[in-house]
Symmetry: C2
Subunit: 267 residues, 2 copies
């Protein structure tokens, strides 16, 4: 039976997933668009598919719904109801409630470049999503969110990540847990700070490593820098004394990727 009221309890339950506390409580998140929903289905993360037949014109989306019939819980909604839960212009008529997926720090296996990025209290979901997108593009294994980080399942983070969250392992831990893990595993940690003496291209990055980035406002504290085996800086020669966090992380990840490429070329 098609749901035609935006006040329907199932629809309300989806709408509250815009709030972080409801996402935390349920362990769920809301995702929309045929491509992203398709990826969530392929990963076995989908709890409920939400379909608005009037809006779903994509053949890929229609096939997906047909394949999942009988396998995945599905609710049909009117175009108006879909619009009430969608945060997109031009909604595609396919969305899902999916289960969040987190990796435990203890289960992390370090791989070679570009490895892992650890973010200390990133505050802006758009930045976090953009970093996930870049980490995916360079072939990183995952992202660690330390202390009070913004939520990668926030709609703005999901949007900016372009679905990279489905390709990456994401870890949540306190900085203390991270520090204990780093020491126990003997992991090489590189941090970034604008006052660090070493130019980011003057370091030969050992493998495997973890790249540690501070928050947008605070950067890394002296204690956090002390945990790093090496600190690097990005040069700045204008009026500005800082970069956007996602841009700084992107430049460093591309340097890691470039160095591993040169190592292969010269091998």
């Amino acid at each position: 039976m098609m749901i035609t009221s935006a006040a329907n309890p199932s629809i309300r339950q989806i709408r509250v997933l815009r709030q972080r506390k409801e996402r935390e409580r349920s362990g769920h998140f809301f995702v929309e668009g045929v491509r992203l929903v398709g990826e969530a289905v392929a990963l076995g993360m989908v709890e409920t598919l939400v379909v608005a037949p009037e809006l779903l014109t994509s053949p890929f989306g229609q096939d997906l719904v047909a394949q999942q019939a009988g396998h995945t819980r599905m609710i049909e909604v009117s175009a108006e109801v879909f619009a009430s839960i969608s945060q997109k212009e031009g909604p595609q008529g396919l969305a899902a409630v999916a289960r969040q997926r987190w990796v435990n720090l203890a289960d992390v296996r370090l791989t070679n470049a570009p490895g892992w990025v650890a973010l200390l209290e990133p505050a802006d979901p758009g930045n976090l999503g953009t970093i996930l997108r870049t980490a995916d593009a360079v072939g990183a294994s995952g992202v660690m969110l330390l202390d009070h980080a913004t939520d990668p399942y926030d709609p703005a983070a999901l949007r900016a990540s372009m679905g990279a969250i489905f390709a990456l392992q994401v870890v949540r831990a306190t900085f203390a847990e991270f520090a204990a893990w780093k020491r126990a595993q003997g992991i090489f940690l590189v941090g970034a700070a604008d006052k660090a003496p070493t130019h980011y291209q003057d370091l030969v990055y050992p493998q495997p490593l973890v790249l540690l980035m501070g928050s947008e406002r605070q950067g890394l504290s002296p204690d956090q820098q002390a945990l790093c085996d090496q600190m690097v800086h990005l040069p700045m020669c204008g009026r500005s004394d800082s970069l956007n966090l996602a841009v700084a992380t992107g430049v460093l990840l591309y340097e890691l990727l470039s160095q591993s490429r040169r190592a292969v070329l010269h091998a």
Copy 2:
């Protein structure tokens, strides 16, 4: 006399500057925060200072107001009225209406690396602001906005730019005007596209040059690519086949900066 009503015509006139068409019509924009207002004052761009004495606790801001008394038009407002025009959490009690500043393409003088960035129809003001911030950080001269670009004086762009707009020259032109200028001046143009055969680090970037970036959605069309003397790509090895525009531009600008640094080191 202090303005205590948010409905006051002067206050309304400021509030409408949130709309692009009102910014275009007036040639003005709204800027807040003691640091940014201070920069706008120093550049002679301020039309009217807006001061909320109850909120203005910064000694720098208080000095600025005292210095400008009698030189710059000033309106005093209550904390409530200030909050009605502010888009910041924790407003600082100092804002300004300032005049936009644009440079004509004909007046552009090319300088050495990292030179200029030309953006074709960037759509997201946050991306544009972030690119301005990065361009400033690497010491670029300016940014050219081609065809239907988002507004660098949009509040979201100003916020993301962290005031870089005050340090950079910004040009508006059509792609046709830009193409004619490039041909007439014999400027070396490097474009970015994910299918370009050349790895972005395999090109020795000649100086001076202009870096051309396509829009978030479309990238560069074949015609636009044909105008470029060289096309480069950023490698991607994950699930994702694209990068955030501001990240891609940042990685390329840092490559330009790095190459000019290596040229100096090896000179």
